[in-house]
């Protein structure tokens, strides 16, 4: 991990509030692994407001051109700042951060379920799984049209995917978990990797737990340092004695065993 400055190669608008920021960085392209993230300074040089860096999963890595990207939704001050960045400007970020996801070597078939912006880390994971010859089914669910044009990125990674939208404006109407429920026999010996809103993770946990399916969750929490030094970004993880302990999303995660995450 390093503090880096990378030239912005492109900032592509996918929809009203979804952007893909492409950044030149040989260091990240060489060192970053799936599920890792970077911590972006979202204020001008010399300004400290907004103060904290913002964490973003690494979305794509183009090793040929040494360009990686992050895909982000505009939510507040930091992401608005990012949306306003222009080609040629410099991005100040720290990375790669977090533990690379540990792919269970013995499993060969994977189901990836992404909810909303949760699809981001799954894309790099999917690409990686494919490259090592695993079978991957990708399910993505969205609330609204923000991701309408995003399919063009997904289709480059794999063909076996299904996109759902709650209101049916694009893809199939519904949510991925319902589809999985209804067609569970197809997936029962797959390894699941899920990323998305807490409610989705919670439902996935309870559904998969009953069926004794193994699953990895990619988690989020508010961060300060992003490198494991401040104890700010903890979530509750079950431990052996039926209790829990706090684990750091930034340095113990962001990938955790879904069954060990406490949602309460």
């Amino acid at each position: 991990m390093k503090t880096l400055k990378g030239e912005i190669v492109a900032n592509r608008k996918y929809s009203d509030n979804l952007y893909k920021l492409e950044v030149f960085s040989p260091y990240i392209c060489k060192n970053a692994k799936p599920a890792q993230f970077i911590n972006i300074k979202c204020s001008r040089q010399g300004s400290d407001d907004p103060l904290l860096r913002r964490p973003f999963s690494i979305y794509e890595i183009d090793e040929q051109f040494n360009v990686f990207s992050v895909l982000f939704l505009v939510r507040g001050r930091g992401t608005q700042f990012m949306a306003d960045l222009r080609k040629g400007e410099s991005l100040d970020f720290v990375g790669p951060l977090g533990q690379p996801i540990k792919i269970p070597e013995n499993d060969s078939r994977f189901v990836l379920i992404g909810g909303g912006i949760g699809v981001v880390p799954l894309c790099l994971i999917a690409k990686n799984l494919k490259s090592i010859g695993k079978t991957v089914h990708f399910f993505a669910g969205f609330k609204d049209e923000a991701f309408y044009t995003w399919e063009r990125d997904l289709i480059k990674i794999l063909k076996d995917y299904k996109i759902f939208s709650e209101n049916g404006v694009f893809g199939e109407k519904g949510i991925p978990l319902n589809y999985i429920r209804e067609n569970f026999s197809e997936f029962k010996d797959h390894h699941f990797i899920v990323c998305g809103p807490l409610e989705m993770l919670k439902q996935a946990q309870s559904f998969l737990k009953d069926r004794k399916v193994r699953a990895i969750a990619i988690m989020e929490e508010k961060m300060a340092c992003g490198i494991g030094a401040c104890m700010g970004c903890v979530i509750k993880i079950k431990n052996k004695n039926n209790g829990y302990s706090y684990k750091k999303v930034c340095s113990d995660g962001p990938a955790f065993d879904l069954m060990e995450v406490c949602f309460d």
């Binding site: 400290d48 508010k222 300060a224 490198i227 030094a229 104890m231 700010g232």
Partner: protein, 316 residues
Amino acid sequence: MTDYFSDETGLEVRMGNIVLKNPVITCSGTFASGIEYSKFYDVSVLGAITTKSFSLERMAGNLPPRICETSSGMLNSIGLQNEGIDYFINEQLQEAKKLGVEIIPSIFGRDLDEFKKIAYKIKNIEEEIIAVELNLSCPNVAEGGIAFCASAEQVGNIVAATKEILHTGIIVKLSGHYNNISETASAAKKYGADAAAVINTIPATAFDIETCKPKLGNITGGLSGPAIKPVALLKVFELAKENIIPIIGIGGIMTWQDAIEFIIAGASAVGVGTANFIYPECGRDILQGIKQYMRRKNIGDIKMLKGIAISNIIKG
């Protein structure tokens, strides 16, 4: 241009029995035990690092969310999550020592008795540390913490008890929250503290207007970062004016300019906290900036800079 600073000449800081090779240290809770940051730069350039506060037993810490950003600042309500002093002594210290930087363990007890017990444990590693910091000002714990600072007597008692056990330097970490900081600092000095670290985070809170709930799991937290710098500076300045005890100035230091501001206001050394989160190499950069400033201003010894704003005011 005079070449005072090819090395570290003129940067040494003495605070009571504590001697630092330079005035830049990192603050408790913002630098863990240095290992994470050593991936960013050679932390041995620092005057010292202060560890996360360790308690007698492992502490789980507070409910998340624990972090919330505010205007030019942040709230934290970590609640002193740590693995306990034994873990530090047995597991972490040796690894930290390898970084080649002086180490100041910060310790936290819920009461006098716990402080004593921790001090006895520290006694075994006294040779390996440069000082111990007594955290008497954490705003995020139910027992002890900031409440100690309400009473100069309490502060005095804890310092006295620690002093009886330990020979290493003693730093008291004080809060700006109460209005008796001269008294607590005087009590600390009287009973043997070498320096006061001023200030800890300021009690504060934030609410989410959509959920109408607090933004922190613990409801309240401590404010740090640039937002608090003017408040911290005043505390340092007022204490320094009275010349009670050497001061480690802390609060919102992001740049070498901020560090200089604390030093001219009367701080002997400076503690860098929240800034590490945003600029992982800031400790090194701040030190570098101080050196360059001194060279530019032709100041051969940092002691000559200390409190210079106070003398300028007195001179009128």
